[in-house]
Symmetry: C2
Subunit: 355 residues, 2 copies
DNA sequence: CTGAAAGCGCTAACAT
DNA sequence: ATGTTAGCGCTTTCAG
């Protein structure tokens, strides 16, 4: 219990008096502008002043007020994220990555959830995002596909970045992995573990990554001299239920596949559930793989062999690219980041399991 | 391809000219101040002016600039979230909830990740959060426990809210479920499904919810006349690995439990993995339950019976409470939200499974 | 009930 | 190399 003393310091004591740029300026014996220069532009002040200002900043514990900064600056200050569908672990990772990036620069992140997947709806979403202050856009699949030719979006002339897509469009930055190569790598692993009748639960057709992954799958089969049977590729909807449905179809075949690869972890969860339900012993009777390496991959059993797509990192990079676009030239560029094959228990080699 | 015409409108065309409050004022034939009044304070303007302003806002598509608003206002404008440990589905849900709440009011959300779980570290984190502009704090477990008696935090005099905790402290708002009742309800369900030797993988001791859940577990056992055997309660660390470890201990006992309840979904995932590994048939040989109903619960097999703790909603509410605390009186209050028992396959009744 | 003045904290653009 | 002036868009007094 501290004694109730009439507040001695300052006028109102309402909040701990913020240290402003003027306080620093006074302390360092320079003008506010000089402090600003020291902080923001390198080599605009003499070494002596820089030192003095730095010292003052240190002593006072000054941290620039991001709000004031944003108001004064002309550059982009709020990034809008446009996404659709249910929240998934993959999406959450993206949101957190974008949030970290905006946090780092004191910018605002605005979420917009649009359920409809039509061009009209997407354009409406973009418009209201722009209206509520977004001056840069981060697109989550499948909005890059939807908006790549949008006149409305072009008219707005905002920097736009799309993530986890295979749709590269002019005027739109992209941050993605090489989906085709990733799926080929993963398929090669499954083959190496001894599986031969390999099925694929592909993603939705309107997501550009889906086709790339199918191509990678077929690349690898061909490379290993395995036949690519049309019936062993079925289309899913990227969710658990569609994985279960696909597994039901695949496992009802006369000759069952001995491995089912999936275009996302959630569908793999569905496949695994269905396999368990039918009493199959995993991974001996059936290997399963996912894609993305979301948080669920290591939490199911058998733990899931999958491709790590660094969603959070990708969102972070894309957001930084968006932010950077404010001052520099806003060239759209296409960044391909590394993926990683993560081998877990769901593809344990046939031999190893028998042992 | 649109023709390249010298931009006719405005000076620079740099950005789509923002509609400012002054534009609206001009359109409505009033002063900027009146527009502000119409928007922010009810009943401060005559019905006629209100109508005129509303019309002007509508026609121009005016949306207030949140940055300018925040700079001008005195109230809380940036909420800091203090969290620790690995990112989990539960934590992500909290972050998204908080983000939605700040978005709704045009405020900033700042994340701070502190790995150390000591009072000193926590106070340091709070301080640097405050320094970087946070004027309200959202505490994720176990920071409420850590900081409830902190003099540093008290000195700062910021509104603070803690979420998903059982630690209610004066001067700190809380949003939580009734953990004891929730665990009792869930235990009652397990008993009702025919399981009798029920074990519990409790949470870490330094999280206040852990004790409450143990109490609820014991309440229910007592209510049903079942003995509470000390050896059947083991402490876990809220992660998958600790769930596996706990399952190893529990399943190695002479008389195996027929159900293992866990204080979070992740530990349940670990228990399920270990049970599968030992060749147990789930849920017949062993029922498992989780807690939280995170996104993994429905993605494992058997799908997990658990308690839905509305993490996103709780974070949203807590953040709103924090924001509201800015203008009104900052009374700390303790909000208990409803939990829901979610029954899935992991506790299918013994009879049903045998059929 | 309405509006004029002043300024939140910072940074362009221009002097000096 | 440094400082002056002006103003980002809004809201808080406090007068009319």
């Amino acid at each position: 219990m501290t004694r109730e003393v009439p507040t001695p310091r300052g006028t109102t004591d309402r909040r701990r008096e913020r240290v402003t740029i003027r306080a620093v300026a006074a302390r360092a014996g320079v003008s506010a502008m000089t402090v600003s220069n020291v902080i923001n532009r390198a080599g605009r002040a003499s070494p002596a002043t820089v030192a003095a200002v730095r010292a003052a900043v240190e002593e006072l514990g000054y941290v620039p007020n991001v709000v004031a900064r944003r108001l004064a600056r002309a550059r982009a200050t709020t990034v809008g994220v446009l996404y659709a569908g249910e929240r998934t672990p993959f999406l959450d990772a993206i949101l957190v990555g974008a949030l970290r990036a905006t946090n780092a620069r004191g910018l605002q992140l605005v979420l917009y959830h649009e359920e409809q997947l039509s061009l009209d709806a997407a354009e409406g979403a973009v418009l209201s995002l722009a209206r509520s202050g977004a001056d840069a856009l981060l697109l989550v699949p499948p909005f890059a596909e939807l908006l790549c030719d949008s006149a409305v979006l072009a008219e707005l002339a905002l920097p736009v970045a799309a993530i986890a897509t295979d749709q590269v469009a002019p005027g739109m930055s992209t941050v993605r992995i090489d989906n085709r190569a990733a799926m080929a790598d993963l398929t090669a692993l499954v083959v190496a573990r001894g599986y031969r009748r390999i099925a694929l639960v592909a993603g939705r057709r309107d997501y550009s990554v889906s086709a790339a992954r199918i191509a990678g799958f077929q690349d690898a089969l061909a490379a290993h001299g395995l036949p690519s049977e049309a019936g062993l590729i079925v289309e899913g909807g990227f969710d658990v239920a569609s994985g279960e449905a696909a597994a039901r179809r695949l496992l009802a075949r006369d000759v069952r596949p001995d491995a089912i690869m999936c275009s996302c972890d959630d569908m793999a969860a569905g496949v695994i559930a269905e396999a368990h339900r039918r009493g199959l012993r995993l991974p001996h009777d059936l290997a399963v793989t996912g894609f993305d390496d979301t948080m669920v991959a290591a939490r199911m059993w058998p733990s899931l062999t999958t491709v790590y797509q660094p969603a959070e990192e990708m969102a972070f990079r894309a957001t930084e690219q968006l932010i950077g676009a404010g001052d520099g030239d806003l060239v759209a560029n296409d960044l391909i980041v590394a993926h990683t094959i993560v081998e877990r228990e769901s593809t344990a080699s046939l031999r190893a399991v028998i042992t």
